[in-house]
């Protein structure tokens, strides 16, 4: 199961829980499972977040694979200039 870590203010919306163990094959399924585990997160996840898997940032690809030992971070939506 991948360990999914939340950025600080997101963890506030998850009743202070900073880390979740989630068994999901890809980002899309992981975000769905995370929303079910912490329903208050659902609106924020729906608005869009950036997901880091093993240090690589994914802003779009919801079907990027997650390995059981992957390091996963949920980060704010990002944009550049």
């Amino acid at each position: 199961m991948a360990r999914v870590k939340l950025w600080g203010s997101l963890s506030r919306m998850a009743d202070g829980q900073k880390e979740f163990e989630i068994d999901a094959p890809n980002i899309d399924r992981m975000l769905t499972a995370l929303g079910e585990a912490a329903p208050k997160l659902k609106p924020i996840l729906a608005k869009g977040v950036t997901v880091s898997i093993d240090g690589t940032l994914y802003r779009l690809d919801k079907f990027q694979a997650i390995q059981p030992d992957s390091e996963v971070y949920i980060l704010p939506k990002m944009a550049g200039g």
Partner: protein, 760 residues
């Protein structure tokens, strides 16, 4: 898309060499067409009426007198951008609609309230004076900290603070609170031998692109049409304009002109949806060109900020705690880049404990737009100022102090994830070894160092490559060229196909000719469009091999592509002389038809880029003038596809950062009206202000790109604010806490604090 192989084993024939840019001659001879150069038969001229008030309720708009003026063909107001479901479902799109045309309230000085299309510019200007707007002037706020107060004038009744469970259910200007960090910072400060904290402020800086926004819309009677404009993203313009005007996206084709600078400021729309609405209403082509005053008052500068930073370190230099509170105002709508500021603030280092809090605040200023590494430069200014001061306080060389704490490959980033291969240490070591670091300074001169980080992004990208009958190549990309990217695309296609650089011609395609592309932002183009170009060329090479196999009567997998020719893969494939790309192109019709390659991707894996800047500055103690004596940039480019244009990006970012540090800021009077909306009073650096900006490229390959490319366009603006401030602090013996360090501000600082800092 992983790195192809160990870069040390690869020799590039085209990539990494210096080539003339394909758009160079047109740009220096005036042949290139920019937004304002476009024309059409029967053209009408559009002008926009703007609010003279910082905050005012629009009680009524009477356009009857203006409409009666001979030569006026159409007038639009907010009523011409009605509620479409696709707009209402998207909060950001709703804000863009409000920003391009004020609705119930004008939210800043310069906010558009109506627009006119007339047969010539003089009639359009006259018509604007005949539009009667009944305003109820409201209290305003333009300062980020004042806007956060309980008794501040409220811009939007619907805003509640996101990111706070206990936020009161009442209107506020604080749109969001974000927080990140790890460990116990109080324990970290307790462990420190030295703790320093300071409060910093930065002004709002505009991107200052030389070309004002310009567009020409031509909507036909059947509701379909064309839009030509200068933009960083024609597909974004198409989608937003179509949605705001209730059009099917397929009905609008957008063609990007050449672009006279963007720097993030042209990643959104301002006049384009208005031109479409006017053209549709008038049934004629409508052109709108902003003047410089409009660009300043009504397009997006970056956020201004108030940033508190506290850091502690041990005598050996180890940073034990880092804490920051960042307040960014992003103008009249939510969306300041404060979260990016919070994430990047300490990204160069590995503090043992960290806490960063960010506040996104709305004020009566124009809606901020992206500006090169949005949110990062002001955070880096604050943090790098403290880092330098910590180093001096413990008596450690500032580069060594940074090396002691530097983020490294495999270390945890300050914002969470583990870094893959990164090159900060290499930039610091290069600065330390550079001759500039050993030059002896004179009186009133100071030296400053600062490092900076930017994430870099990928994004949706589509590329098509077509082989011409003579073996040359037409490459279509969908990302406007804002920094020499066409040269890099030509180089990568040529590298893959084994043909000369000048045999590839790259165009920026319109929205009807290519799949969707995200805007040119996030330093993404050389990475993402480059990656797609490489894959499109490889796909074309595969087709070329299949055609050769067909001619030779052998299996396709028995042919490989080498040095611009199809060759048998090995002795068992048979003995055939190499078949050149020119020969295969000539036979395309006989062997199956046109030869092309294309590639579509949501590109991820853009590796972050780090840079370290070294500045020597001299202060005139009588006038407060600061002269930049020497400036060195060392930056990790992963793999520099076009070294000259990488250096150009590095120099351009540094110069914009120097302007932000020394002179550039929005100045408002007590009515909330901008007082310096022109280049005479909003002073950007010019060539005579600057020394040659020295550059040194470091190449630590990005494992997420076939050649190891990293974006380079944004990182270069992150360190200059801090580097210049550190040089000035060393020169005058007082630490600047507010940017820009304009002469009056520096004179005041020297008068109040002019004595050597503790250890500087």
């Amino acid at each position: 898309m992983p790195l192809d192989r160990d870069p040390a084993d690869r020799t590039y024939k085209v990539v990494g060499h210096r080539h003339n840019r394909p758009d160079g001659i047109d740009k220096v001879t005036g042949r290139a067409k920019f937004g304002a150069d476009l024309a059409a038969p029967g053209l009408l001229h559009g002008r926009i009426l703007r609010s003279p008030h910082a905050h005012a309720r629009i009680k009524s708009i009477d356009t009857s007198k203006a409409l009666a003026l001979e030569g006026v063909k159409a007038i639009v107001t907010a009523a011409d951008f009605p509620d479409h479901p696709q707009v209402l479902e998207d909060g950001e799109l709703t804000n863009i609609r409000y920003n391009v045309m004020a609705r119930e309230k004008a939210l800043y000085d310069g906010h558009a309230v109506a627009a006119v299309a007339a047969s010539n510019p003089r009639i359009a200007a006259k018509a604007l004076k005949l539009i009667e707007v009944d305003y109820e002037v409201l209290p305003h706020v333009v300062d980020v900290e004042l806007a956060m107060k309980d008794d501040a004038p409220i811009l939007h009744d619907h805003i509640r603070t996101e990111g706070m469970e206990d936020a009161p259910d009442c209107p506020t200007n604080v749109a969001e609170r974000i927080e990140l960090g790890y460990g116990d910072v109080e324990a970290g400060f307790a462990e420190a031998d030295v703790v320093i904290e300071r409060q910093f402020r930065t002004g709002a800086a505009h991107q200052g692109y030389i070309e004002p926004h310009a567009c020409l819309a031509n909507i036909s009677g059947d509701g379909s049409g064309d839009l030509w404009c200068c933009t960083q993203g024609q597909f974004m313009v198409r989608d937003v304009c179509a949605q705001l005007n209730g059009m099917d996206v397929s009905k609008l084709r957008v063609t990007p002109s050449e672009i006279g600078g963007g720097f993030g400021g042209k990643t959104t729309v301002f006049i384009e949806p208005v031109a479409v609405a006017l053209s549709r209403k008038a049934g004629k082509p409508v052109k709108i060109v902003m003047n410089r005053g409009e660009v300043f008052r009504a397009t997006g500068p970056t956020a201004s900020s108030a940033i508190w930073v506290k850091m502690g370190c041990k005598r050996d230099g180890t940073i034990t705690a880092a804490q920051a509170e960042l307040k960014y105002q992003g103008g009249a709508f939510p969306g300041s880049p404060v979260s990016m500021g919070a994430m990047t603030a300490f990204a160069c280092y590995q503090p043992k404990t960290l806490k960063a809090i960010g506040w996104d605040v709305v004020t009566n200023r124009p809606k901020q737009a992206a500006y090169r590494a949005p949110g990062a430069p002001m955070a880096a200014f604050a943090v790098e100022s403290i880092v330098e001061e910590l180093a001096h306080t413990i008596g450690m060389d500032p580069v060594d102090f940074r090396l002691k704490n530097a983020a490294t490959s495999g270390s945890k980033s300050a914002y969470g994830p583990t870094y893959s291969d990164i090159g900060l240490v290499e930039t610091l070591e290069a600065v330390k070894a550079h001759p500039n670091y050993a030059i002896k300074l004179g009186p009133n001169q100071g030296r400053g160092v600062a490092s900076g980080f930017w994430f870099n992004f990928g994004g949706q990208t589509a590329v098509t490559l077509n082989l011409n009958i003579d073996g040359t190549v037409a490459l279509s990309v969908g990302t406007p060229d804002i920094g020499g990217s066409r040269a890099s695309m030509c180089a990568m296609a040529a590298e893959e196909l084994g043909i000369p650089y000048h045999h590839v011609q790259t165009i920026i395609a319109d929205t009807g000719s290519l799949g969707f592309n995200d805007v040119t932002d996030g330093s993404r183009v050389t990475f993402a469009s480059g990656l797609a170009t490489i894959e499109a060329a490889r796909n074309a090479a595969k087709v070329l091999c299949e055609r050769a196999a067909k001619i030779w009567g052998i299996p396709a997998d028995a042919v490989t592509w080498e040095n611009g020719c199809a060759v048998p893969a090995g002795p068992n494939a048979g003995e055939f002389p190499p078949m050149t790309i020119k020969e295969l192109a000539k036979k395309a019709g006989e062997t199956g038809g046109p030869i092309a390659g294309h590639f579509e991707v949501s590109a991820d894996g853009a590796g972050p880029s780090f840079a370290t800047h070294l500045v020597d500055a001299e202060v005139d103690r009588e006038t407060g003038r600061i002269t930049i004596l020497r400036y060195l940039i060392v930056q990790d480019a992963g793999k520099a596809v076009s070294p000259a244009y990488v250096e150009g990006q590095m120099q351009g970012g540094a110069v914009q950062g120097i302007g932000w540090a020394l002179n550039e800021e929005y100045i408002y009077n007590d009515k909330g009206v901008m007082e310096n909306p022109g280049f005479l009073d909003y002073r950007v650096p010019v060539a005579s202000d600057l020394p040659m900006i020295d550059t040194q490229i470091v190449e630590v390959p990005n494992p997420g790109h076939p050649y190891g490319v990293r974006g380079v366009g944004e990182t270069s603006i992150v360190p200059p604010l801090g580097a210049v401030a550190n040089a000035v602090a060393a020169a005058v013996g007082a630490r600047p806490e507010e940017l820009p360090m304009s002469p009056p501000r520096l004179l005041k600082l020297m008068k109040e604090q002019a004595q050597p800092l503790a250890a500087e």
